[in-house]
């Protein structure tokens, strides 16, 4: 499984990288939505994107709408990981095509549980 971590904070990318690596994901990273789109166009398509909302150049919401508009990427799972916690923002993200939503701050378990809910991590045997 491949995860693309999209966040303008290097520290947050590092935290998320450690979590998903421990779940046996290979990881790639991007500092904003535009960079993430370029990586997806040029490199292997990830199984899941962990997407921050507020980023320079291209925000996470725009990134999600662009990914959902491309049929080649219909199998990519999108999970927002963001400080945006207004209810209408969560509704907006889900309507735009996000599969799941994690509000910062979070515990490592929260990420693992959400990935398991999405069928990307094996559950208890």
């Amino acid at each position: 499984m491949k995860a693309l971590i999209i966040d303008d904070s290097r520290a947050m990318r590092s935290i998320l990288r450690r979590i998903v690596t421990s779940l046996d994901f290979e990881t790639d990273e991007a500092g904003h939505g535009q960079e993430a789109l370029e990586r997806m166009e040029s490199g292997p398509v990830p199984d899941v994107c962990l997407v921050d909302w507020n980023m320079p150049v291209m925000d996470g919401y725009t990134f999600i709408t662009k990914v959902r508009a491309n049929p080649d990427w219909r199998n990519v799972t999108l999970m927002m990981v963001t400080t945006e916690s207004e209810q209408q923002q969560i509704v907006r993200a889900l309507a735009a095509g996000a599969h799941e939503y994690v509000i910062k701050p979070f515990t490592p378990d929260a990420i693992a549980e959400k990935l398991e809910m999405l069928g990307l991590v094996g559950g208890a045997a």
């Binding site: 509704v91 509000i103 701050p105 979070f106 549980e113």
Partner: protein, 290 residues
């Protein structure tokens, strides 16, 4: 002198203070709640009592020495020590089995009364009770009513269930984002369960090792991840007394790693194990009530 960061520190007599403290706390918890703190949980005792000791202006050791003679602090300490970390729809599969398999059968069995009763035993902060309330909101046909009774040995936890407010960290744990927007409303920095779920959940203070008088019988009892905290004798006693609490057509669900395979024959005969996919459920064996 107290242990720092969970590591036992030697005191002036060269003994490990945390060990003395731990043994004393362990005995107290067992006496008050019948729960067992296994060896190796010293760090947990330390972490949970440290804030209470700090609030009381003393060390953890001094705080523990006060507990036998101070009922107010003892109640607080028991609350702190009996908290279990929990998540929404914990382990997922049991909730899937509930919606897909058990609920249709229960609807058939209760067609005459159109009312379901569920017991969330050792409910902790309420995630299990409210997870079930969410599923019933989605799957219960119109015209049906239901009641979820949430019990716990911790009064602080029951207060949390009644308040039904959860932090961002807590709502991230296993709760689908669709359920978050559907069943919660923002309340400052927290998230509050909507009234239409809350009205179905009632709370009651209950030590599982004490009598279950006045609870009535249930279509489903969730007794998940709690028997592990009791010694074998208490565990058997609980399962024996749970048997008449389950309606004849009803179910008992234990935690994923808990089993009734090791029960003495007379008690094992009271329960029928059924496997539903990865999930084991228990039903009262007919005519075996002793």
């Amino acid at each position: 002198m107290t242990a720092q960061d969970g590591h036992p520190a030697p005191d002036r007599r060269g003994m490990t203070t945390a060990t003395d403290t731990y043994e004393s706390v362990s005995a107290l918890v067992r006496r008050e709640t019948s729960m067992i703190y296994d060896a190796g949980k010293e760090y947990l005792v330390e972490a949970r009592l440290r804030p209470l000791a700090a609030a009381a202006g003393c060390t953890v050791d001094e705080y523990v020495k006060r507990l036998p003679i101070d009922p107010v602090e003892r109640r607080k300490a028991m609350d702190a020590l009996t908290i279990n970390e929990t998540s929404w729809f914990r382990d997922h599969a049991p909730y899937q089995v509930f919606s897909d398999v058990l609920l249709p059968r229960l609807l058939e069995a209760r067609a005459a009364t159109r009312h379901l009763r569920i017991w969330s035993a050792a409910c902790s902060s309420g995630q299990e009770a409210y997870s079930l309330a969410m599923l019933l909101d989605q799957h219960l046909p119109a015209g049906w009513t239901h009641e979820i009774v949430a019990t716990d040995v911790s009064t602080a936890m029951l207060e949390r269930v009644r308040n039904a407010r959860y932090s961002a960290v807590e709502v991230n744990r296993g709760l689908p984002a669709t359920a978050l927007v559907r069943y919660f409303a923002r309340a400052g920095n927290e998230w509050e369960i909507v009234p239409r779920l809350r009205e179905h959940v009632s709370t009651r203070h209950l030590n599982l090792a004490a009598p279950y008088d006045g609870l009535g019988s249930f279509d489903l009892i969730m007794l998940r991840n709690v028997l592990i905290y009791f010694d074998q004798e208490t565990k058997h006693d609980i399962l024996r007394r749970m048997r008449p609490m389950v309606a004849p057509h009803g179910y008992l669900m234990l935690g994923s790693s808990e089993t009734t395979l090791d029960l003495p024959p007379d008690l094992a005969a009271q329960w029928r194990r059924e496997q539903e996919g990865r999930v084991q459920v228990h039903r009262p064996a007919t005519g075996a009530l002793t």
